[in-house]
């Protein structure tokens, strides 16, 4: 019997395949294409204290083997999420699953107080198995500089959220830093159960016919297969230095891509933009991991995690 189970801190997953926040909606949008409970877990949209409208259109630009987005955390706020969206997600779950997928919520904010408010409210929701703290957001009290670009600010967010959220807390790191290992060590020290990386890389595209930036915000976040080598390098560097489990993200489109991240030290992976091209890709990656283990005679997927 093959074992695809893996752990993020105290939280056990039935397999290492998760979905990346902002690319899988609330899961329900994909329930025609995948049985959500076949996944290790799904991480839903970035959730803030108050409802947010996000940035003006255009918010997306297609780039060579990737895309830029500037969605800007559009969401209906944590109260609406708990009251209305959690029940909707519940209706799409597989009640017969012997090991259900983990529901995880990506938490965002403009101030430490906002992160604490959202995490504190989610702590009261039994349905939420873990939170992923997105520190790539601008800190409005520090001139808009992202929490995730300064180890001290990142640690402050992590510590404050740690105090109000007792279950599994993943901190999601931004790649837009000089030393991502320093960021990872800072949030580990502050009590994170795991780090996930990478969030999107800051980028830009110009429409030469209009002589204007394509995105309404000029710059946006790059994702997709084009970021995979950078993401893989960062996961490998971080996994070598931290003791907590690492979740790998960036350009994963296939089981082979996922295996690269596992071998580089990730205990689990998140699939993002690839969901747009193939809405059933997550199921295919789970199946592919199983097929690989069978072919290679691997009885426990943990055998290959971090072998590089």
């Amino acid at each position: 019997m093959m074992n695809l189970r893996t752990n993020i801190g105290n939280l056990e997953l039935k397999n290492p395949v998760l979905t990346a926040s902002g690319t899988f909606g609330y899961g329900v949008e994909f329930s025609d294409f995948v049985n959500l409970d076949n996944l290790g877990g799904f991480i839903v949209k970035g959730t803030t204290g108050q409802p947010r409208e996000g940035n003006p259109y255009p918010r997306m630009a297609e780039t060579p083997l990737g895309m830029l987005n500037a969605v800007g955390l559009q969401n209906k706020g944590v109260d609406y999420f708990i009251e209305h969206i959690i029940p909707q997600i519940g209706q799409k779950r597989d009640r017969n699953a012997d090991f259900p997928a983990r529901l995880m919520v990506n938490v965002s904010g403009s101030t430490i107080e906002e992160y604490v408010e959202v995490a504190g409210k989610l702590a009261t929701c039994e349905e939420v198995d873990a939170i992923e703290v997105n520190i790539s957001c601008p800190n409005v009290k520090q001139g808009g500089m992202a929490f995730g670009t300064d180890p001290k600010m990142a640690a402050q967010v992590a510590r404050a959220v740690r105090d109000v959220y007792p279950r599994c807390m993943i901190v999601k790191l931004s790649p837009n830093v000089t030393d991502i290992v320093a960021m990872a060590l800072a949030v580990e020290e502050a009590g994170a159960d795991s780090v996930s990386l990478i969030n999107t890389l800051l980028g830009m595209a110009v429409d030469v016919n209009r002589r204007k930036p394509v995105l309404s915000t000029v710059t946006g976040g790059l994702s997709g297969p084009c970021v995979k080598p950078v993401a893989l390098r960062m996961v490998w560097q971080v996994a070598k230095k931290v003791r907590i489990p690492v979740v790998g993200i960036g350009g994963i489109c296939s089981a082979t891509d996922a295996l690269e991240f596992l071998m580089a030290g990730a205990s689990a992976v998140e699939i993002g933009s690839a969901n747009f091209v193939d809405p059933s890709v997550t199921q295919k990656v789970v199946d592919g991991l199983e097929a690989y283990c069978r072919k290679e005679g691997i009885s426990d997927i943990k055998e290959i995690i971090g072998i590089i």
């Binding site: 909606g25 025609d32 996000g54 060579p64 083997l65 969605v71």
Partner: protein
């Protein structure tokens, strides 16, 4: 409503060239298709290249769901649409469908009054240009099947750029406007005399945004209900990424791919 979405392989039955810039693709699938509303769209997978990677949204131009057949009208604008346009008979095309909310028309109770043309409870005008005519063609066929009266108005810059006018004329009375007057009435679609002769109750429009805005203004003057179909750039097409939004009348951003692409013009903030 809320039909299950599916991923299906389709095969090209015929690729018909319509002028230099458009092709009409006749496709079939061995999968069972759900009922498809006019105005809904598909997301087509293209071969990954440095030019493109995401799926391409294209309106459903005609459908015979029970036979597993659909048609698409594709304008060659960039690499993805050029690749689709170049497909030969037998080629395979992977699509996610049916997506979005399509056009709507009144229930039967209203329809019974259509006999009196002067006081009709329903009389529609379908106004479009370019690939915007693709969904209007299927809409016209559906209205015809329902026994609802309608006229069609096609706009183009010139004779060379006019597309689908003959095909539309086979389904219903079709007026033509060109900006240079090379065929039909000279001027914009909003200048056409059709608007003066008939008391339209429903206007359906799909085409370039300035055209749709002008049509919506005209519809408001006539106190007609107006439905517009938007073509915002998309990534997922499923309501998950929030890349395709447009502001509604209250200023809230709504997804064009799931709340639309067809909207009541009054619901929009433009």
């Amino acid at each position: 409503m809320n039909v299950k979405k599916q991923i299906s392989d389709f095969f090209v039955e015929r690729n018909v060239s319509l002028g230099d810039n458009f092709v009409q693709l006749h496709l079939y699938t061995h999968d069972k298709l759900p009922e498809i509303d006019p105005g809904q769209f598909v997301q087509i997978q293209i071969p990954s290249s440095i030019h493109g990677w995401l799926r391409i949204p294209i309106s459903i131009h005609d459908a015979e769901a029970e036979k597993g057949k659909i048609k698409l009208l594709v304008q060659k604008v960039g690499d993805g649409s050029r690749w689709i346009s170049s497909l030969h008979e037998g080629a395979k095309l992977n699509m996610v469908l049916p997506l979005g909310r399509g056009f709507s028309w009144p229930e039967i109770s209203l329809r019974q009054e259509v006999e009196d043309p002067k006081n009709a409870a329903f009389r529609a005008l379908l106004v479009g240009g370019g690939c915007g005519l693709a969904p209007l063609y299927y809409l016209a066929k559906c209205l015809e099947k329902e026994g609802l009266p309608f006229d069609i108005l096609v706009g183009a810059r010139d004779k060379e750029r006019l597309v689908l006018a003959n095909e539309l004329a086979e389904i219903g009375p079709t007026g033509i406007c060109t900006e240079d007057g090379s065929v039909g009435i000279k001027g914009l679609v909003t200048d056409h005399p059709l608007w003066k002769g008939v008391a339209y109750t429903h206007i359906y429009t799909c085409g370039p945004t300035p055209m749709m805005k002008a049509v919506a203004v005209k519809a408001k003057e006539l106190k007609a209900r107006c439905e517009v179909s938007l073509e915002n750039t998309m990534a997922c097409g499923l309501g998950a990424c929030l890349c395709c939004v447009t502001p509604d009348a209250q200023g809230h951003n709504v997804c064009v791919c799931t709340e639309g692409p067809v909207f009541d013009a009054d619901e929009l903030g433009w």
